[in-house]
Amino acid sequence: MTTQNSGYSAADIKVLTGLEAVRQRPAMYVGSTGPSGALHLVYELVQNSVDEAMAGHCSRISVRLDGDGHITVSDNGRGIPVGIHPTEGRPAIEVVLTTLHAGGKFGSPSASGSTAYGIAGGLHGVGVSCVNALSDDFTVTVQRDGSTHAIAFHRGALVQPLARTGNADQTGTSVRFRPDSTIFEGVTLDVRTLRRRLQEQAFLHPGLTVALTDARGREDKLETFRYDGGIASFVGHLVADRTPLHPQPIAISGEHEGHQLEVAIQWTTAYAEETLAYVNAIFTSQGGSHVEGLRSALTRVVNARARTEGMLHDDADEQIAGYDVREGLVAVLSLKMHDPEYEGQTKSTLTSHSATAAVEQVVEAALERWMTEHPTAATAIVGKALEASRARAAARRASERARYQSIDQVVSKEVYKQQFGIRSKNWHQSASWITDDAILSTQADMWDGPDDARVLDVCCGSGVVGNAFRGTVGHITGLDLTPEMIAMAETRLDVVQQGDVYDMPFEDNQFDLACNREVLHLLPRPDIPVGQIFRVLKPGGTFIVSQLVPYGPEDAPWFFRIVKKKQPLFFNNLMAEDMVKLLEDAGFVDITMKELICWEDIDIWIDTWETPNLHRHEIRQLYYDAPAEVRRVHPFEIRPDGGILDQWRWVVLRGRKPSA
């Protein structure tokens, strides 16, 4: 064994120089040495198996996670060739596993028509040799030509030369490896993301079975994905928790100058857009030229349809913008093409120009035909885009009207009714922070008054804030402006009155407790309602109010821009200190303040009608491009799929009206 090893070492030197580079700069090859880098290793192997499936030689891929950190990726493909490589003089498999840029996908398909792969997504990063270099244990078992063979490495160095280990009655490749803990220090695999990625591959390749076994716990958990409906069922899966505008996804497939395209689209009543795009089965998280093609086709078809159906105001030269067309859209696009070009190493953006024209032409023709065949659905889709477009204009007008009227402190109730009416109802029922236990219970905990107290929930919305005091108080009155909210609040509160916070429909000295959450920033003059609350509270009464606030001067302007883009009626970027001052100025005493933080997926927060699609994109961009000063004080996370989790800072204040 020892002598054999030394016999190999001479040949290994050349190979190791290639892999040593990978070990020296792992992030350059797999993106990072954190969780996403470790995942990348698994994807790299899965992608190789997927390429076998795309070439028509593999029907099952399995991934297994073991408690000792080993990961096994197996397929029933053809198996990596084990014969001696004609020019290298070593087994082909050894060349593949130890050489950067070696593999069956480098030949030109047009030259001889005899490469092992037609279209392949692989070469993701730099191939399987990269995974080998970054693993402290890497064993490959190949079943091929009736035999089983095995070969093993340690950090890219051969420790067990290729050997026949037995017979085989099938074919396939199985790679068992463990990410090198000296490189991926303390990294645990993000199983949720891996699971989603594997499920995605099953959606993208009808007939392919993808299995995930999590054997890290006391019992093995096996999940198997197989979707013969392809990407239409993918869209169906994504739409599952939304309300579709038309019952079935629109499935489009076609070919244009060597581009094979499959698209499935479905519009929903939601506001956010979700478009997932793949090129040769690789997820392009930042879209690119293929997505541009899809977008311009959708914009053009929807506008053309709106015009021929006479739905646009011709005299005003009305047009529906692309981001309004995409409101509530769920789309999956899978493009297969030769030699795709990407921006950067991670393949997040496709730059091939040819893809734009191909996608545009195929989608435009097919969608037009579909709309002619489904006139009712087409009208619903176009109507929704038009509504989005007009709502955006209305929201802008609403904030402008509120602004001008505030000069003489007359604030139009209509403006607020428009904003917080029926369209915000759904959102009010779904946004998780609204019912966030931590905030509600913090508010409730600050109450130390008698249990027969009379409570006023100011701008009660759905009534959850007032309801949080249930059991510790006697009677809860709600106050809100819109009939929709009043109807919702009536299910929770004892009585709900319609009225205005600038001039509350109550006598002086009526309540023991007034509560309010997240309203003061929406009013041009927050001091007026705080004064009104002071007036209607009994002497000795308590006011509890919570507000979302920036962390400090560093993120205040950034936070302002985000909230203003989300909510056109945002008037005051209240800081924690401003809240204290508001209460003090109204006459409240014994003011105490608690701070709490809450992680929130911003999609929930911005998926509302008051936030136009353009603003939603701008908000995401503000997170992506957040200045270093902001990042230092304001925690948030950008997930690999582009989703954003923000850590919100809430303050909850309590003040007391002085006793008479």
Partner: protein, 153 residues
């Protein structure tokens, strides 16, 4: 080029001073224009990207980059005569930081709070709040620059 003498000065055998000349004013104008355009085109580019015009976006970004470089070029000449916001001469880090401290102090202390008051009076509470938010950050910047000044000494 900056040191090219005018006919009159050449006759007297000395270089002209930039400060107070029309050319000085023109450099300040050009700086203001290009610095603004750089910022504006960057803003336009982000929107073009979102609206689905990647080509337009990259054109705008390239122009913005160029404009920022132009602005730097104007500053190259303005160093001695004074940078455009405070009129102080700049160049080495110690002087630059001193100018920056002044700029931040000016905005945070007078201009922005005054702007906020005007916005309130004219019925733009959201714009007033925006000015106040920026003023807060400016205060913070002022403090950071003060400590940078210590470091640069």
């Amino acid at each position: 080029m900056a040191d090219a003498p005018s006919h009159r000065d050449a006759a007297k055998g000395r270089l002209p001073t930039l400060k107070g000349t029309l050319t000085h004013a023109h450099l300040r104008d050009a700086f203001a224009l290009d610095a603004r355009a750089a910022s504006l085109y960057g803003y336009f580019a982000r929107i073009a990207e979102i609206e689905g015009y990647p080509e337009v976006a990259s054109t705008l970004r390239e122009l913005a980059e160029q404009k920022a470089m132009f602005a730097d070029g104007h500053l190259d000449f303005l160093k001695k005569a004074g940078e455009p916001l405070t009129g102080r001469s700049i160049g080495e880090t110690v002087r630059n930081i001193e100018a920056a401290v002044l700029i931040e102090a000016q905005d945070a202390a007078d201009r922005l709070p005054a702007h906020a008051r005007t916005a309130h009076a004219e019925g733009f509470p959201d714009i007033a709040s925006w000015f106040e938010s920026v003023a807060l950050a400016r205060h913070h910047h002022h403090a950071r620059l003060q400590s940078a000044k210590e470091d640069a000494r």
